[in-house]
């Protein structure tokens, strides 16, 4: 619950703390294998031990020197960042309209938009590829960024969130003479910091780890994103799991940090109902 149970730190609190800590550590513990594999030599990877016998930084060195991995990280950062910002903007606008404004065909249009969520990329990839190619967006950043912005998921989530905001806030603003844009920009957006933070993390993460679309839409290796680069560590009859784990550990960091810093927004509640 959002409300604290009591002010003191009694037994119940300790039990809760310990079980939470234990559960969290258990949840993340399989990933310790990934981290330990990143420091192991190839022959050691599938040994059962978690501590490498000959720990090495060679894997990281290889990943960053044998491939232009920094470039791929910057590519992915640019792409995922742009998509996140634009998507948050467009989706919050649409979510606000569907939740708080009345217009003809509102629910029908929303249902149509939601129906685009019912197929995943492999189903539409062939016609989408043809379409994007006709639009001249193959092998450039536009093709990587633009199609990925539009996703019904964000619109749906934001709509549900905005539905939960008391309508009195909006009506008070209208009485005060605010325009619809003003309501959106000055009232709704600030109130939606928790959800926008969550979505920022989600959108960034999904696009940071994107593989299939970037692989399909580019042939130019300068445009590679990190997951495609990591896939190139697999050969026909062997896989350099040590490099894959090292690269994946590096690649997991930015989003984890993003989440760590955004999470305060996630738990700051709307302090008042605004009707004072």
């Amino acid at each position: 619950m959002s409300a604290p149970i009591s002010s003191g730190f009694h037994f119940g609190r300790w039990a809760l703390f310990l079980s939470t800590a234990l559960l969290a550590i258990l949840t993340a513990s399989p990933l310790v294998w990934m981290i330990s594999a990143a420091f192991k030599e190839p022959a050691e990877i599938f040994n059962s031990s978690l501590i490498p016998q000959h720990p090495t930084l060679e894997n990281f060195r290889y990943v960053f020197t044998q491939l232009p991995f920094i470039r791929y990280i910057l590519n992915t950062f640019f792409i995922a960042g742009t998509i996140t910002v634009v998507a948050l903007f467009f989706h919050s606008m649409a979510g606000f309209a569907f939740a708080r404004l009345k217009f003809p065909g509102r629910d029908l249009i929303f249902l149509s938009i939601f129906s685009t969520f019912l197929v995943s990329l492999p189903v539409i990839i062939v016609p989408l590829f043809i379409l994007v190619q006709r639009l001249g967006m193959v092998n450039n950043y536009a093709g990587l960024i633009v199609p990925a912005i539009f996703n019904a998921f964000g619109i749906f989530l934001l709509r549900q969130f905005y539905l939960g905001i008391p309508s009195e806030l909006q009506e008070a603003a209208i009485i005060d003479g605010a325009s619809y844009w003003g309501i959106y920009w000055n009232i709704m957006l600030p109130l939606s910091r928790p959800i926008l933070s969550a979505l920022a993390v989600f959108f960034f993460l999904v696009n940071w780890n994107a593989f299939l679309w970037p692989l399909t839409i580019t042939t130019n290796q300068d445009l590679w994103v990190v997951q495609v680069a990591i896939a190139s560590f697999q050969n026909q009859y062997s896989a350099s799991w040590n490099y894959i784990m090292a690269a994946s550990a590096v690649v997991a960091l930015p989003t984890l940090l993003l989440f760590f810093f955004f999470q305060r927004e996630l738990v700051e509640s709307i302090k008042t109902t605004g009707l004072k």
Binding site: P42, A43, I45, F46, N47, S48, L67, F103, P104, P122, I125, V126, P127, F129, I130, L131, Q133, R134, S179, Y180, W181, G182, L212, L215, T216, T219, Q221, V228, A231, S232, F233, Q234, N235, Q236, Y237, S238, A239, S240, W241
Partner: protein, 467 residues
């Protein structure tokens, strides 16, 4: 800023019709625009697709594969780059390498998406399992007219037969990968076994595997994950008992036979006697470093590529190789894998693409033969698909190590190429193997059901014959 619209919208834009309010007009715009886009997309998608480039002269051909540039194994990547460089130096139409990560190339969607949108690569590589899919789609160029007769005869017939339809050659193999068994010397020693104990029959094999299954190690390893690789590794066991998928004319199913049933049972026994695991480490049961070299299993059903893989990543690991064990009254049989260069008949310039494939692998020129030698003994460890290249490679010492010698002299002659089957037949075989090996199903019944599936498919099948 979306202020009160009356300040933004000019008065004279007000339409006359009461139904077309401001919002309707905008919606109309969206709908009309949408209709336009749909019409354009539909007509352009469903019309015969290539952006017609036959008018303009083509300067570059794309060559899609999973080795270069940027592939992990330096020698393999360099081989491809040198191959293309040699062509580009002497030809106007250039070839450009395009790297696709191997997992996606083999079982992903990038290649198929490209073909489906008319943008397939001009030159690419295929495995025998995929041959019919491309041949039946009319995508492969007949390479025979571009080859000298000596070159055509230079390729081993049992390697080529899966790439030949009606006497015409549609793909040029760059390698031959026979399957055998590898074993860990250390594991044998620990179990008190020696080279004399190397099993020759299935029963002996299972017995040795039992002795080797100790502690955290399994005695042997077969592929358990569904896919083309699993069926590929299983076929020789069926052939050893004279079983086969289809009759020799490819029209009827021959799957329901004792050879098939006992092969299914053999794989089932290995699992049920707990001498083989249900899962592998690493990327697949083709991964020798993750499984054999790490000590997870003591014997591994593996192909000739293991030699190079171990040479590169686990130099100190001591291993041995022996031919596949046989059933009672069985004949020595193994299977070849190996990928081939092919040219896209629906590509930008099929003729030049075909010439490239032939000049790279299929000409009698010294550089072509040397290229095959280099690929098979330096970049990888494979048997060469050409007689001349095999001789040359042997002379250069490429087959002097114990393992390579065994592959070349004893194992290669008993081999048969990976069958080319349409996907539905593959799936029937795959389901049968999975059901028996992992699902504990009755091999006799499974073979019969699979055979019926194959039979009913072949009844309506009109593509090139299975081989």
């Amino acid at each position: 800023m979306l202020d009160s619209p009356t300040t933004d919208t000019p008065q004279d834009e007000a339409p006359a019709n009461p139904l077309t309010t401001g919002s309707m007009t905008r919606r109309e715009v969206i709908t009309t625009g949408g209709k336009f886009i749909v019409a354009a997309a539909v007509s352009s998608t469903f019309s015969p697709f290539t952006i017609n480039v036959k008018a303009a002269p083509v300067k570059t051909l794309s060559f899609w594969q999973f080795y270069a540039p940027g592939g992990q194994v330096g020698t393999q990547s360099k081989w491809f780059e040198d191959c293309v460089k040699a062509w580009n130096a002497t030809h106007d139409v250039k070839v450009e390498l395009q790297y696709v990560p191997v997992q996606d190339y083999m079982s992903g969607s990038k290649l198929q998406t490209a073909f489906a949108s008319g943008q397939g690569p001009d030159i690419f590589i295929i495995s025998p399992g995929d041959f019919l899919r491309y041949y039946n789609g009319g995508v492969l160029v007949d390479l025979t007219p571009y080859m000298e007769e000596a070159a055509r005869n230079d390729f081993f017939p049992n390697v080529m037969e899966t790439r030949i339809v009606d006497g015409k050659i549609y793909g040029l193999p760059m390698e031959v990968e026979p399957m055998a068994m590898y074993y860990s010397v250390k594991a044998f020693q620990e179990a008190g076994l020696s080279e004399a104990d190397i099993p020759k029959t299935w029963d002996q094999f299972l017995e040795i595997a039992r002795k080797l299954t100790k502690g955290n190690r399994f005695g042997c390893l077969f592929e358990t994950g569904p896919g083309y690789y699993q069926t590929f590794t299983w076929y020789p066991f069926m052939w050893q008992g004279s079983g086969d998928i289809a009759s020799s004319d490819g029209k009827k199913s021959a799957f329901n036979s004792p050879g098939t049933i006992q092969a299914l049972k053999f794989w089932q026994d290995a699992i049920q006697q707990n001498v083989a695991p249900r899962n592998f480490l690493g990327g697949g049961a083709w991964d020798v470093v993750a499984n054999l070299a790490s000590g997870y299993c003591a014997m591994q059903n593996l192909g000739i590529w293991g030699v190079a893989a171990l040479r590169e990543t686990a130099k100190d690991f001591e291993y041995g190789v022996f031919p596949l064990p046989l059933p009672p009254n069985g004949q020595a049989k193994t299977i070849f894998g190996g990928w081939a260069f092919v040219a896209n008949a629906k590509g930008k310039n099929p003729e030049e693409a075909a010439k490239f494939c032939v000049s790279a692998l299929g000409s009698m020129q010294d550089d072509s033969i040397q290229r095959v030698v280099d690929w098979c003994t330096k970049a990888k460890s494979d048997v060469s698909p050409r007689k001349s290249a095999l001789e040359k490679a042997t002379a250069e010492g490429g087959y002097s190590s114990a393992a390579m010698k065994l592959f070349k002299d004893e194992i290669f002659p008993t081999g048969r190429g990976e069958p080319r089957v349409p996907p539905e037949v593959y799936k029937a075989v795959s389901d049968a193997i999975q059901a028996c090996q992992l699902g504990g199903a009755d091999p006799k019944q499974t073979a019969e059901e699979a055979s019926q599936r194959i039979e009913s498919f072949l009844a309506g099948y009109t593509g090139a014959p299975l081989r």
